[in-house]
Symmetry: C2
Subunit: 294 residues, 2 copies
């Protein structure tokens, strides 16, 4: 039983953790902190939190579990602020989409207390955001990836895994470097590729002609280009090394297509399209990953 | 009333035109020609065609309307074969996804009879292919783009427009160059971009790790990578000039992202992501374009 949970950043993600733990009868009191007063009041109204704290320091005072569910760009400052106020038995986790940068921020901000930080990335999201959109079942059947630190005690990793499982999630462990490489490829790069196409066409004088004739292929390819610019700027910068490597690989593939096309090299195109079509046709999306924005 | 319609290539597209015209009571006899005997027998069985012809020449003999609904790469040879056998009053149309190359093939193969060829691109398709998948309502509410030739008589353009409207479609006229430029951007480039990402990941030793963690963003971004490799090789080569130009513009955008990311230039990313997110959020897909593969 968690006696007091501090949720720092009470949006869809943080609010849904609180609601899920409450529904499971696994938490006593939830104290929330966030930048928007109206949003925190919505969190109170839907029963995600029991009290609003005026600062991160006040929120974590006396808490046995702390969840950072804010944009990854804001975590470094928060770790530094809460470090002196964490209870000795408190365990900290997060919900950031990138892990190596969050770990570096935790080590810098928490100091030795980083041993009690167990990084997490819940693969869940929804079209809506904010505390009012929070749902107790958001994590039901979804994956949560833990990237434990060398300095974590196994019992603490298990306690944090238990928190996420209590929300209904399936917990998977990976190294942080592997996590960031995999998500750069399957999530972060596609977002940039979708933003790039839409901005390219929207910036042309005849933009309306393009959009008027665009159909279902374009609709699906670019769906993720409607995502939050701030969130994706932060994720891209946070996972910069892995994402630059993925962009280089992708640029190289597309350049090879360009050159094959200019040369009328039908075989090169056919071979690549065939490998892609077979791989994509064989792939069965993992049901637990299906809402992964981000 | 069309007395005799010749459908050359009796798949989903050609078979659906025949079924739609029959349902509308606008066609007498439909004669089909295609490369696969089993498929032609399926077309007979579903009532799309009334007879199977042994050659394109035999199919068009005595036909007052001729529809080429085969892959665009096969049209040049077909135009040349049917030219001497077209009735004097026959009008010809097609269903190819690219237009300048089909027009060039028609002029080369039909000679002066190209004046009776009115090029068309129906923006419709479905997950399934082949005559057995043909449906009378495939074109209901969909767009069909006509790219008339300078040498077409207005009455002939109107007669071909009338044929497509009788299938339930909305007819739009565009210049062939504009058509090919627009579809290179909104359809052909996204297909290549999706093929490129899937082939890149599928070709890596750790491919299964990527696919295991891929979620809904990846699923939608890459949906069109499951498309027919042959069809897309042909379309890419047929629309090569416009597609190379679009690839160059896209490579330039992605390279700019790569450089901004490497330099930690948050503002450039934020500005582009914001323009894209606003444009994509504002865009309401045209219902008549929603099944546009290809």
């Amino acid at each position: 039983m968690i006696e007091r949970l501090a949720v720092l950043g009470v949006g869809l993600i943080g609010g849904s953790v609180a609601l899920a733990l409450k529904r499971a009868g696994r938490v006593g009191r939830v104290v929330g902190y966030g930048r928007g007063r109206a949003n925190l009041e919505a969190a109170l109204a839907v029963g995600a939190i029991d009290a609003i704290a005026d600062s991160p320091e006040a929120a974590v005072a006396g808490a046995d579990r702390v969840l950072l569910a804010m944009p990854v760009g804001a975590m470094a400052a928060t770790f530094a602020r809460i470090a002196p106020h964490l209870a000795a038995h408190a365990l900290v986790t997060d919900a950031g989409s990138t892990k190596q940068d969050v770990i570096a921020a935790a080590r810098a901000g928490l100091g030795p207390a980083s041993a009690r930080f167990v990084p997490a990335h819940p693969i869940a999201g929804a079209e809506r955001s904010g505390a009012a959109a929070a749902r107790a079942d958001l994590y039901g059947g979804r994956s949560v990836i833990l990237t434990p630190l060398a300095e974590n005690r196994p019992a603490d990793v298990e306690a944090v895994a238990d928190l996420w499982r209590a929300c209904g999630a399936q917990v998977v462990e990976m190294a942080a470097t592997e996590h960031d490489g995999v998500f750069a490829a399957v999530s972060h790069l596609p977002h940039l590729a979708a933003f790039a196409l839409v901005d390219e066409l929207a910036s042309r004088p005849q933009a309306q002609t393009y959009f008027r004739h665009a159909g279902s292929g374009f609709r699906d390819f670019t769906r993720i280009a409607a995502s939050s610019p701030e969130m994706w700027r932060d994720i891209a910068l946070a996972n910069r090394a892995a994402l630059v490597a993925e962009l280089d690989a992708y640029l190289s593939r597309l350049s090879a297509y360009r050159d094959a096309l200019a040369a009328g090299d039908a075989d090169t195109l056919m071979q690549s399209f065939t490998r892609a079509s077979q791989a994509r046709s064989r792939w069965q999306p993992n049901g637990s990953n299906l809402e992964n924005d981000p």
